[in-house]
Symmetry: C2
Subunit: 252 residues, 2 copies
DNA sequence: CGTACTATTGAGCGCTCTCAAAACCAGTGG
DNA sequence: CCACTGGTTTTGAGAGCGCTCAATAGTACG
């Protein structure tokens, strides 16, 4: 992608498929030797099952986790069984970046379906990144990307209507699945309506009603957890419309 | 603060006051030599005035900015003059971390009042951090902290009522001012009601009404842009109440 | 002292939440 | 195979919070 003349893209991709580091090594100029060293510190993935925890709220931070297959949700549990879903993590995505600062996990990470997850001890990754400038650069980019992502979400939660939120959510899923070579229009949602609502700041009933409405309007087909996006452009229009129409606050 | 035995805290603080890097070197074990090298790459602050831009939406990313005095808002302009305020940045805080990934600023940064801002060319900071492991660590922490901050805000926007949002906003301001040794109970808001509302996802009128209500209830005194927090505990209670009462969604 | 802008206050409406009930699904055991 | 049970999803009706529209008041600046 960028200026990775050092080694062919395909080689890296293959190496990465082994080391399962996803975002960590894909778009950069690591030498084969670098990739090998990176590979060395990664703990191999063992299959995890629905309900398993990667880590829990309050545990001390040791490792980052990379989703190889399956999906994970992160959330902050509050007393009384209430919780706030922070995100859903699909294959290739990294979990735990928010805990580097305080060295304690502020959220819990729970596996949503049978998944393969790689663990990367952070202290070793940090060491390695200090010896490999391009890896350091990639780490900066990763962290920065996470900030951008949160910022985008902030915009959704702060300004958009229920309709716009669900459309944005579906398009986000679609886009991320496409990035991993999976179907961007036909997929299963591993999370419940309840979790989607919690994530988007909406009531379960609202989410349900919107799925029904979107289907009636021919934007998608939905059956249980299976979703098929039909009119992507219309969904895009719903999301974009918001930024144009609403909130034309002309601040000086 | 942490285990910075290498050099006395006071020495660092003084050095930092010069280099104006705020969060960058404060809580870590940089040697005097390190601090000096860090200081070398920082472009000195010249005074900026209300309405000046640090950077605009779409410009290519070159530097991070550290607020020395004053305040800055970041926001994403959309067509038609509408905009979404992403954050307000107080002394000691860093701006631009979200642009590292794509190397383009996705937002604009506008100065809210006469301010002193330092510019730190990122490429040189990156080089330096590669030679100074503790600086690299500090960078990781900084980026991670920004993620945590966004996550917290996400919770506010996704789940809290107008009342809870404004209380959270005021307490956030208070906490950050305290960190910089400024009064946590008596301060001026450099942003307009409009901008506060935009930031919190509320209408101007709602913000105004809430200020009035809070004052009537004896939680604070407000006169124009000057705010004096009187009952911090009550404000805390408003914010915390939310996580306990509402949204007791018992997800399996 | 007017002009433009920002902030405040009031009245009414709409979106989304809450409460309630029915439909649906998956797993278990008779 | 079917009834039973716990869970999730869907659907309906009503209420409340916060937005919109509109008007007034206060403030900064020339």
């Amino acid at each position: 992608m960028t200026e990775s003349k050092v080694i062919s893209f395909e080689t890296i991709r293959v190496a990465c498929r082994n080391c399962t580091l996803g975002a960590l090594c894909l778009p950069m100029g690591l030498t084969p030797d670098d990739v090998e060293r990176l590979d060395d510190i990664v703990k191999r993935a063992r299959p995890l099952h629905r309900g398993d925890f990667l880590f829990r709220n309050g545990q001390s931070f040791r490792s980052l986790y990379v989703v190889k297959t399956g999906s994970v949700k992160t959330y902050t549990p509050s007393e009384e069984g209430g919780e706030q879903v922070l995100g859903f993590h699909l294959p290739g995505e990294i979990i735990g970046l928010d805990a580097i600062d305080k060295e304690v996990h502020a959220c819990s990470a729970k596996v949503l379906e049978t998944s393969a997850i790689c663990e990367v001890p952070f202290s070793r990754l940090e060491e390695l990144s200090n010896r490999i400038p391009s890896l350091q650069h990639q780490m900066y980019r990763l962290l920065s990307k996470e900030i951008s992502h949160d910022t985008e979400l902030l915009l959704v939660l702060g300004k958009k209507s229920a309709e716009e939120r669900l459309a944005a959510f579906l398009l986000s899923m679609s886009k991320r699945l496409r990035q991993r070579g999976l179907s961007p229009t036909d997929f299963y949602l591993s999370m419940s309506r309840h979790e989607i609502g919690n994530y988007l700041g909406l009531a379960v009933e609202t989410v349900s009603r919107l799925f029904t409405r979107f289907q009636d309007e021919g934007l998608l087909k939905v059956d249980r957890k299976h979703v098929e996006l039909i009119d992507m452009e219309a969904l895009e229009a719903i999301v974009v419309r918001a930024t144009a129409d609403n909130h034309q606050q002309h601040l000086t």
